[in-house]
C-alpha cells in the first residue's frame, strides 16, 4: 500500500464512511422510541401553537397522550399567544393555546368563526399562580396588600422601611434599602394578569390599563421568567412577579384577600378560578373566564393566570377524532394531574372541567 493509494482512495473512503455513520446517527435520534403498547388506535398528526406559559404543561400532555396513542404525533410551537391565535385563525394549526380569551374587539372571534365555519370552542386548561418574589436582606416573609403592591410597582413607595409596608408587616425587620421593582421587558401573559390584578384589586392605586407590555417606562426590565428570577436574585431590594413554579428558592409574598393573608399556592389559584364567573356575551361553547380579582373566598389566591385551548367545533373525519381525544385528555383528571406534576400548575376546578369536557365532546366530523 503506497502513499498515493492511501491519500487518494483509502483515507477519503474511510472519512466518507465515518461521515455517513455520523449523519445517520443524527437522523436516528429523532425517532420517538415507543415501546409501550397503545390502548387506542387513533393515528394522525396534530399541530398546535401559542402560549409559552403552557409550554411545560403541554410537554407533559403531549408525552402522556402520545404514550397512550402511539400512532399520533402532537406538535406544539410555544411562539406566544398572539402568534398562536393568528396561526389558528389563518388555518395553519389545528388548535391554539392562549393566555387571554379570543378578543372580540381585535376581530379574533370573527376570524376564528370564519376559519372553523362556526363559533370556535374555547376551554380553560391551564391555571397557574403568579408569585410576587422579593430579595430583601433579613426579610424572609412579607405581606403585601394590592394597594401597597400597586404603589411599589408604580414607583410611589421607594424604600422598604416605608410606613405603608411597615404597617402590613409589624414583625418584619425592614431595612432602609431602596426598592427596585423588576418587570418583564417582553410581551407576557404574566404581565397582563399581574397588571389586571393591580388594576382591579388595587383600589385606584394602579392607573394603567392591563396590558401584555409593562406600561411604565422606567425600572429594571428582565426578559422571560428566567431573566426575571435571575434579576431579582442578583439585585438588592428587588421585587418582581413570576410564575410560582419557576420561583426556586426565592421568597414569595403573601397577598391580602378580603381580610386574610394568603400565600401563593396551586390550590389557592384553583379556588380563585372556581369563584370566578364566565364572561358574558360569548358564544355557547366559549368558556372565557372573567377572573374575579377581588374575591373574598376562603383560601383563594386571585393573582393567577388562566390559559385557554382554542379549537374548532368540526374537523375532517380523521382529524376530529384525534383533536377530541387530545383535548379530552388535557381537561381530564389524569391530564391535569400530569400537568401539575410537570409544570407546577393548578388543576382546573372540577365544575369547570366538567363543562369543558361537555364542550370537547361536541367536537365532531364535518
Amino acid at each position: 500500500m503506497n502513499r498515493t493509494f492511501l491519500r487518494r482512495i483509502a483515507a477519503p473512503s474511510v472519512a466518507a464512511l465515518a461521515l455517513g455513520l455520523a449523519v445517520s446517527a443524527c437522523g436516528a435520534g429523532n425517532e420517538t422510541a415507543s415501546t409501550s403498547s397503545s390502548t387506542n388506535d387513533l393515528s394522525g398528526k396534530l399541530d398546535g401553537a401559542g402560549s409559552s406559559a403552557q409550554e411545560s404543561a403541554m410537554d407533559a400532555w403531549r408525552a402522556g397522550f402520545q404514550k397512550e396513542n402511539s400512532g399520533v404525533t402532537v406538535n406544539y410551537d410555544p411562539s406566544g399567544s398572539g402568534a398562536g391565535v393568528e396561526k389558528f385563525n389563518a388555518g395553519g394549526v389545528d388548535f391554539a393555546g392562549s393566555d387571554s380569551p379570543l378578543d372580540a374587539e381585535k376581530g379574533e372571534l370573527d376570524a376564528a368563526k370564519k376559519r372553523c365555519g362556526g363559533d370556535a370552542i374555547e376551554v380553560p386548561n391551564y391555571v397557574s399562580p403568579i408569585a410576587v418574589v422579593f430579595n430583601v436582606e433579613g426579610v424572609d416573609e412579607l405581606q403585601l396588600s394590592p394597594k401597597t403592591m400597586a404603589a411599589i410597582f408604580d414607583g410611589k413607595i421607594t424604600s422598604w422601611d416605608d410606613a405603608a409596608i411597615k404597617a402590613e408587616n409589624p414583625d418584619a425587620k425592614l431595612p432602609s434599602t431602596t426598592i427596585a421593582p423588576v418587570h418583564r421587558s417582553d410581551e407576557s401573559g404574566t404581565t397582563k394578569n399581574f397588571t389586571d390584578y393591580l388594576e382591579k384589586a388595587g383600589g385606584g392605586a394602579w392607573t394603567h390599563p392591563a396590558d401584555k407590555v409593562w406600561p411604565i417606562k422606567s425600572g429594571e426590565g428582565a426578559n422571560q421568567t428566567s431573566g426575571m428570577i435571575s434579576a431579582v436574585k442578583g439585585g438588592k431590594g428587588t421585587v418582581g412577579y413570576a410564575d410560582l413554579s419557576q420561583v426556586g428558592d426565592l421568597s414569595a409574598a403573601s397577598i391580602k384577600v378580603g381580610e386574610k393573608w394568603v400565600e401563593p399556592s396551586a390550590e389557592g389559584a384553583s379556588k380563585a378560578v372556581e369563584a370566578s364567573p364566565l364572561e358574558e356575551g360569548r358564544p355557547a361553547n366559549d368558556m372565557a373566564v372573567e377572573i374575579d380579582r377581588t374575591t373574598t373566598t376562603e383560601g383563594a389566591y386571585p393573582l393567577m393566570l388562566t390559559s385557554y385551548l382554542i379549537a374548532c367545533p368540526t374537523y375532517d373525519e380523521a382529524k376530529a377524532e384525534v383533536v377530541k381525544g387530545f383535548l379530552t385528555y388535557v381537561v381530564s383528571d389524569q391530564g391535569q394531574k400530569d400537568a401539575a406534576e410537570n409544570a407546577g400548575s393548578a388543576p382546573i376546578p372540577a365544575s369547570f372541567a366538567e363543562k369543558a369536557q361537555k364542550i370537547v365532546d361536541s367536537i365532531s366530523a364535518k
Partner: protein, 309 residues
Amino acid sequence: MSIIEAKAGPPKRRLGDLVFANLTRAAGMVILLALAGVAIFLTIEGIPAFAAGPGDLSGAANFAAYVWPLVFGTLLAAVLALAIALPLAIGVALTVSHYAPRRLATLIGYMVDLLAAVPSVIYGLWGGLFLGPHLVPLYEWLAEHLSWIPFFAGPASTTGRTILTASIVLAIMVLPIITAISREIFAQTPRLNEEAALALGATRWEMIRLSVFPYARSGIVSAAMLGLGRALGETMAVAMVLSASGVITLNLISSTNPSTIAANIALTFADATGLQVNALIASGLVLFVITFVVNFAARWIVSRSEVQV
C-alpha cells in the same frame, strides 16, 4: 538559423488560468449578490411597516418614533464600546508588535485571540450574572459623587444591568478584532522608516508616532470599523445584559436604559405577529443603512488623508 518572428496576437491562455479567473470573479459576484439579496429582503419586508400605527409599534405614533430610541441606544452602546476598546486595542497591538519580548508577545497574542473564540451568549451570561453585580458599588459611588454629570445622574441600578455594563461587555468582544488587525498592520511598518527615526534620536514612543502611526492609520480605521460593525450588530450579549425600557436617556448607570436595534429584535421577535414583524425587519434595515453610512464615512475620511508610502 533565421529569426522566427513572433505572431502579434492575444497571449495564449491555458484552461487552468481561465477557470481560476472566472471562479474568483464568481466568488466576488456571490458576495455582492448575497449583500444585494439581504438588502432587497429587508426593503421588501420592511416597507409595510412605514405605514404602521401605534397598535403594532408598541405605542409609538409612527415608525420614526419607534425606531429613533433604538437607533440612539445602538449608537450610544457602540460608541461607548469603541471608546473603551480602541485605545486598549491599539495599546495591546503596540505591545505585541513593538514593546514586548518575542515570547511574551506571542503569548499575549494567543490570549487576545482566545477572547474572540468565546461565544457571545457566554459574554451575555457573564455580563449579566457576574460583571453587572460587581459593578454596582462603582455605580453607587458614581451616583453619589458625580451625579452632576448627566451621564451619572440617576439612582444607581441595583443589579448593574445598565448600558455602561453592556458597553464594557461589547468592548471586550470587539477588542480581539481590532487588536488582531492592528497587530498585523503595525508589524508591516517598513523597518527602514523605524530605524531612520531611531537613528535620528527619536525615543521608542516618538518613533512609533512618527513612522508607525502614519503608515498604519488606514489600517487602524478599518480595524475600528470592523469592530464598530460588530458592536452595532451584537445581539445576544446586549439582550442578556441590558435591562431595556426603550427610553432615550444619557444616564449610563440607572435601571432605565435605551434598547438597541439588534437586542430589540432578539427579544420581541418570538412574540411578534403581522405588522410587528415588518416593523422589526424595517428596524434591521435601518441598522443596515447605519452600518453602511458609517463605513463609507470612515473610508472617505481615510482616503482624504492617506499617506503615500
